[in-house]
């Protein structure tokens, strides 16, 4: 059945002018520039300002979203996701193209926008509700529900500057979640808050879409969460829409792009490191040496690290750290301290004995000489996705991050 489309985007483009013109130009600059261009024109050089550079944050993007759909928007940093959301939430105007929105749209581009630290929780609920487009009556009617959802009953009359960051986020999300717009636009809200609350938010988002027939546009770097909540996704690459379809398919295309990018994450070594030793390449791969950005839960994977040593070094250690999407250091592995000779070396870390739960992991590579770290950086991102719905997403399921890492014996007594 063809659903009525609530969001219709056609040929949307947004151009920014960057370059030598400073962002917050002063009047003096503008006057000087004006005089300059006037002078050029006078000399017949044409009015065009050569020193300006155009940048298309979005170009010719078209898609439709039906009622009750939860659409994931994925893409690398700078691909145009935020610009798209800014246009949809009417914060900035497009350069070309049109958007038609059917019904009220509310956006949550950052949690707690418009919160004032001096005002109490109660006052901020009223204020923030109004900022997000709620009527006074609606806020009154929803007030108790918001407070209960945010779990801040005891601190209602405390200025929010005294809130913990968790409370702050809970309150902000609660207000937005009870907004009841026909279209809800969310950008990376779930990156914060504790696990239990994240789970609650995801549940609320699904209720909003399925139960109440509202449309949600969801941008996140946390691919397992996108996979879990969104039925459909679009992929933006350098301002263009390059994939639109079922979440699994689009994330597959996205992962393929990430794979090509795997080797590019090694930083340029400093002169100091060049004199000692540095990492020249990092590659995440399967056991049969295919590059890997997505692994299934339980599927073995390995990290191949190339090192260039300028001279012989004693007590040399290579370390690999695995960090979860919630910034929890999950595991660290060291190579045995040894002496290395000048030249190129390869170190391979293989994960085949323990399964990690589905999440978006960051792999950190470090080098140390005689207990002193000489180089350390985020080398790659590894998405582990689960087939089993029980472990779809550790961050929201409440299950452990390390799966079946113990021997279990059962016998009848």
């Amino acid at each position: 059945m063809e659903r009525e489309s609530v969001i219709t985007v056609e040929g949307l483009s947004k151009r920014y002018v960057i370059g030598h013109e400073t962002r917050h130009d002063t009047l003096r600059d503008r006057l000087a520039q004006g005089a300059g261009s006037w002078w050029r024109r006078l000399r017949g050089a044409g009015g065009a300002q050569i020193d300006k550079e155009e940048f298309w944050a979005l170009s010719d993007v078209s898609f439709k979203v039906g009622r009750g759909e939860v659409l994931g928007v994925v893409g690398r940093n700078g691909a145009g996701k935020s610009t798209l959301l800014k246009i949809l939430s009417r914060i900035t105007d497009p350069t070309a193209g049109t958007v038609r929105l059917l019904g009220r749209a509310a956006s949550l581009l950052e949690v707690g926008t418009g919160f004032h630290p001096e005002l109490t929780g109660r006052e901020n609920i009223l204020l923030n509700g109004a900022i997000l487009g709620m009527r006074r009556k609606e806020i009154r009617a929803k007030f108790d529900e918001i407070v209960a959802f945010a779990e801040v009953q005891r601190f209602l009359d405390t200025p929010v500057k005294h809130y913990s960051s968790g409370m702050y986020v809970r309150l902000a999300f609660a207000i937005a979640a009870h907004l009841e717009p026909e279209i809800l636009i969310i950008d990376e809200v779930l990156a914060v808050g504790d696990t239990a609350f994240q789970k609650k938010c995801l549940g609320k988002m699904r209720d909003v879409a399925r139960g109440e027939g509202r449309t949600v546009l969801f941008v996140s770097h946390n691919l397992p969460i996108v996979r879990q909540v969104c039925s459909r996704a679009i992929l933006l690459e350098s301002g263009r829409l390059t994939a639109d379809g079922p979440t699994n398919v689009v994330l597959g295309v996205y992962a393929h792009g990430l794979e090509e990018n795997q080797l590019a994450r090694v930083p340029e070594p400093t002169p100091e490191l060049r004199e000692r030793a540095y990492v020249s390449a990092v590659r995440v791969e399967t056991l049969d040496q295919r590059t890997l950005a997505f692994a299934r839960v339980g599927e073995p994977w390995r990290v191949r690290i190339r090192i260039v040593a300028a001279r012989a070094l004693a007590d040399f250690v290579v370390a690999l750290g695995v960090i979860t999407s919630e910034n929890l250091g999950l595991q660290t592995v060291w190579s045995a301290p040894c002496r290395i000779e000048p030249g190129e070396h390869e170190i391979i870390f293989t994960q085949d004995s323990v399964a990690l739960a589905a999440d978006s992991y960051t792999l950190v590579v470090g080098l140390s000489v005689a207990d002193q770290t000489i180089q350390q950086f985020d080398a790659a991102r590894l998405e582990i996705t689960g087939e089993n719905p029980m472990i779809l997403c550790a961050a929201s399921s409440g299950f452990g991050l390390v799966i079946n890492s113990m021997r279990v014996e059962t016998r009848k007594l």
Binding site: I87, S89, D93, R104
Partner: protein
Amino acid sequence: MPFQAAETQITAGRQDKAYWADLWNYRELLGFLAWRDVKVRYKQATLGIAWAVVQPAITMVIFTFVFGKLANMPNDNTPYPLVVLAGLLPWQLFSSAFSGASGSLLNNASLVSKVYFPRLIIPLSALAVALVDFAVVLSLYTAMMLWFGVLPSWHVVFLPLFILLALLAAFGTGAWLTALTVQYRDFRFIAPFMLQVGIFLSPVGFRTDNMPNWRGLLGLNPLTGVIDGFRWCLLGKSATLDPSVIVTSVVLIAILVFTGVWYFRHTERLLADNI
């Protein structure tokens, strides 16, 4: 559950008709922002209301001394402090509304770059804070009147008109300045300077009917008509009102408001990208 399927269209051009409707739809937000500003202002300043009284009271004492005693301006039997305070009232209203409005967009940068609403609401809400301060100074004036035993004439019923005129003057200039400030940060320093100079170019410390030769020139300052009007309302017949000065003021303020709103709307689309 039935949806109210109001359609919104976002295109590259400007959407004027919808804008004014939106301004009306967001009137509650205007109220909330004004309420927030008033609340925060009186929460943060421990002296709160006292501060709003002390400032004009000290200015009044100084101006009474300079213009009433040193310059020995005639006062037609009206106590000179009242003459000064009646001029200070609209000035204070204008200056606090103007400085609030001119800094309003930068102060609300996080809102402007993250949530949609008609941006004109921001400078408008700054006017409300000025009105609260004005109410405080007005009560100071009332107390002074009772102290001197002077009663206002029937002219006082026109006072709201002149209050409105002072607010419009502040809104027109404030809209210009706040939009300019976002584009060119230099204008942040221009607003305080304008106020510093403005108090001497406006007839705050003296009455224009005492300076017939200069009245035409002073009338080019849109606030002259407003201040004359306040004196006429509060001090009764003792301060004469020149209709031509009032008309000039109204026309100038109307031009300021229309061009101010025009320029604000003109730059509004770029605000989120520039702020």
